[in-house]
Amino acid sequence: MIYSKDVTSLPDLAHQIVSPRFDVITQPVDVLSLQNLVMYAIENGIPIVPRGNGTSGWGGAIPTRGGLCISLSGMSEILYFNEFESAVTVETGITWRDLLAFLGRLGFTLPVYPSSATAATVGGFVASGGLGIGSTRNGNILKQVLGIEAILPNGKIVRLGKLLLDPKNDVLKERVDEGNSWLSEELSDAGLGSPEQETKLFTGTYGTLGIITKVTLKTIPNLQLIPFTCSFDSIADLARAADRILSDVKPYFIRFLADNYTSKLRAVNEYESGKYILTGALLDTIYQNEDNIEIIKTVTDEEKGQILDDKRAWFYWSERLYPLRIKRHGPSIVPAEMLAPMRMLPEILEKTKAELRNSNVAIEGTLSNDGTTSFMVWILDDERKKVSFTIGWYRSFQIASLAERFGGLPYAVGLWNGRHARKFYGSDVYNNLKVMKKKLDLNDIMNPVKVFGGRVTIGRESMLLGFLLGFIVTMIGGWVLPGLLNLGWLNQFLSSSLFQFIYFPILGLAGLVGGLVVVLITRFMRLNQALAIGIPVLRILSKLLRR
């Protein structure tokens, strides 16, 4: 039960389309036991879902059709580090915190790590992709991956990109050689490159194409870290300052906090409550940092902001790992996130606030090095108020649509944003992914329904509702339609006495068939179709309820 959820609280309604729990939780301790597990699942047609520590919120790690949860947290060794190659190889169940601590002791750090570093696993972030601490200079985590090892949905072990290992300890070499030669053929069949070039098939695809077991990541020297924080009265000033700092200074990390976020942080009550905060860090040589801090001060001043003292800057730096502090104001949270052009920040913020004016929201985001920013909208709600919470669920999908209007994208795909997958990956990449999914996962057992959509497991309540709906619609149709369509002979027949005798049983039978047809339709319904029907309904209900 505990393994069947992620950080998002789902309304009960969601379990009408995805199963509420896994059947079995497993925790393999090495690649070979994991391979056995996958083979077992293939033989028995059991769905499998890889899981790091469940800190994501897009449904990637939750069950859709029950099955096996494969928790990777038992595989957490550091396998290889070479400072001259600036690379480290780990098993994917290790947390970013532990990896950072290891590298820190040797004078190194990571170019990018997630703000969930204290608990998220390397595998979880690499499988999701995304921006993190360090992305302002180094971009998406996917750019930091040099190579991976993965177990395919058909049980083969493969290595892609440049996975660095000590050859003396490489017990899997034979199996990998076999797996890679098979994969090479399949890739060239699909018009793709060699395994060396196609790491991206398995990173950023939410474990739908395979379970990542090892990753080689880039490392960087841990130079002098200097956090900085500036506060602004308006988002427009903040955005201008951010833009200038980005181009003049190239900081390691910048994050913004909107007024509705800082007003909910208890620890800033006496300080910057209700202000717009731009906070981040430089990671450079002492001399470079000295120059850059001066530039940041000047820019902040010129853009009508205020630079905060070191103590506040360090406070915000440590808070980078706790973006969910504000949850106490919920107590539940519905995350809605997008990736949008940085220059649109003021407009998006205004629009989001307007769209969600009846909701309690807190907004923050991370700036990337490619002119985009993640835009995290935390919608605070109370899941104990079952009806309003369920109806309000549509709002997280609303933000994804809003992103499109601004030329942005949903931040992540996972389960719930599968509808936007084509746009998210780009048409060509998405087509390739689809082809490979078909080739590698013949029985659709590897993290089914995620990214690519798929049949949903309709709950009993929904089936009953569907049946009733079908039944009632057919009955009403049968009763009213003949009159409406002006079918003279039928009308005549209806008013005859014979009608009394046979029409009602026939109508009842038709109603039954109607009900069953709807049930059948729901059995074949795919996630995206279910959402396409459900979201507008919730939206309408919400509007009605508000009135």
């Binding site: 959820k5 915190r97 204290t118 608990a119 969910l324």
Partner: protein, 357 residues
């Protein structure tokens, strides 16, 4: 929906919903580190409580037992993203366990022992004088004497013979520094902490008051403790101390450090030793008393101090706190072993600590 009386009574009913499922707590939990399944870690347990409230699970024997597989080490509380006082929550959950008559046998024994004998080990008040063997001269005339300073030993140091030298050293130090101090002797009773660990939140104040009534009468201004948990318990549960802030509660190291700063203690050169300090969970995470012991060691010539990893606020529990040592001794010793492994990778030849467990 299932009503959890104690969770509501102590205002904790929101907390399972406030939890962000971020996992910070679970990844620092010593019990999870050993057992490696979410249901043994704090995030998992909180989630089960939520599902019990929602009527999706039952408060059964298995879950009751899991609630006691916890060191009450405050590590989860100290890293919680949303500021949940998890340790408080676990105590309240233990009260729910007691209410449902599902207490593990050792916890039941502790409650009985504290009630009937005034200590956790089924000993008795006379046994609280045994530690004085060898320091009779120093303690003579000090029991229940009026003074500014009281030394409160707590059950472990008073009653466990292997810890008697802690108390003996403490009175030697106080005597050397000419501190005018008093002892409660055989009148000292358990501070009440084990009651909260065994699910009886109601009687702690009364237990504390048994000691505090004497302390008030003796005109004491500073109480020095050998056990950080006694300080935590009185600070949290004593109604008297909540209202009257004039009595100061100090750990032994805080007090000794003060004596050094006041130049009342001096050290002589001694052969070189390398030490490492094990921060007791409660000292480090609740009382925030991490620097004083280190400052003391810095003052002692010949002591070379190295840090363990993790240390200070991130210290790793020794495995004994919160009744885990009696509820599941095997698990408790596995946790202890892990802490000892932290020591073995340092060059230290001595572990220094003020944890009496």
């Amino acid at each position: 929906m299932t009503k959890l009386d104690f969770v509501e009574k102590y205002g904790q009913e929101n907390e399972p919903y406030v939890c962000a499922s971020c996992g910070n707590c679970t990844l620092v939990c010593p019990v999870y580190s050993e057992l490696k399944w979410e249901s043994y870690g704090p995030r998992g347990k909180l989630h089960v409580v939520k599902s019990i409230i929602e009527g999706e699970s039952e408060f059964g024997k298995d879950f009751a037992h899991k609630i006691f597989l916890c060191n009450l080490c405050e590590h989860c509380t100290s890293v919680c993203t949303t500021g949940i006082s998890l340790d408080r929550f676990w105590e309240v959950a233990r009260a729910e366990v007691r209410e449902r008559d599902l207490l593990p046998a050792p916890a039941r024994f502790v409650l009985k022992s504290v009630k009937e004998r005034g200590d956790i080990m089924w000993m008795g008040s006379a046994d609280r004088l045994l530690w004085m063997e060898g320091v009779e001269e120093l303690v003579k005339g000090r029991i229940l004497k009026k003074a500014k300073v009281a030394y409160f030993l707590g059950c472990n140091v008073s009653l466990k013979s292997q810890l008697h030298d802690v108390a003996q050293s403490m009175v030697k130090i106080m005597d050397y520094a000419s501190v005018d101090f008093t002892l409660l002797g055989e009148k000292e009773v358990c501070c009440g902490a084990p009651l909260s660990w065994a699910g009886n939140l109601k009687d702690i104040n009364e237990m504390a008051e048994k000691n505090l009534a004497m302390i008030r009468e003796l005109g004491i201004e500073t109480i020095v403790f050998s056990c950080p948990s006694c300080i935590q318990t009185w600070s949290e549960y004593s109604k008297f101390l909540k209202e009257d802030k004039s009595i100061e509660l100090l750990t032994a190291s805080q007090f000794i450090n003060r004596l050094i700063r006041e130049k009342r203690l001096h050290f002589e050169e001694q052969p070189m030793i390398t030490t490492t300090f094990h921060d007791p969970c409660i000292s480090a995470r609740v009382l925030k008393a991490t620097e004083e012991p280190r400052e003391i060691m810095d003052e002692i010539p010949g002591v070379y101090h190295v840090e363990m990893d993790p240390s200070r606020q991130n210290t790793r529990c020794c495995g004994s706190h919160g009744l885990l040592d009696v509820v599941d001794p095997v698990l408790s010793s596995k946790i202890a072993e892990r802490r000892l492994r932290d020591v073995t990778v340092t060059p230290a030849t001595r572990i220094v600590t003020e944890c009496p467990r």
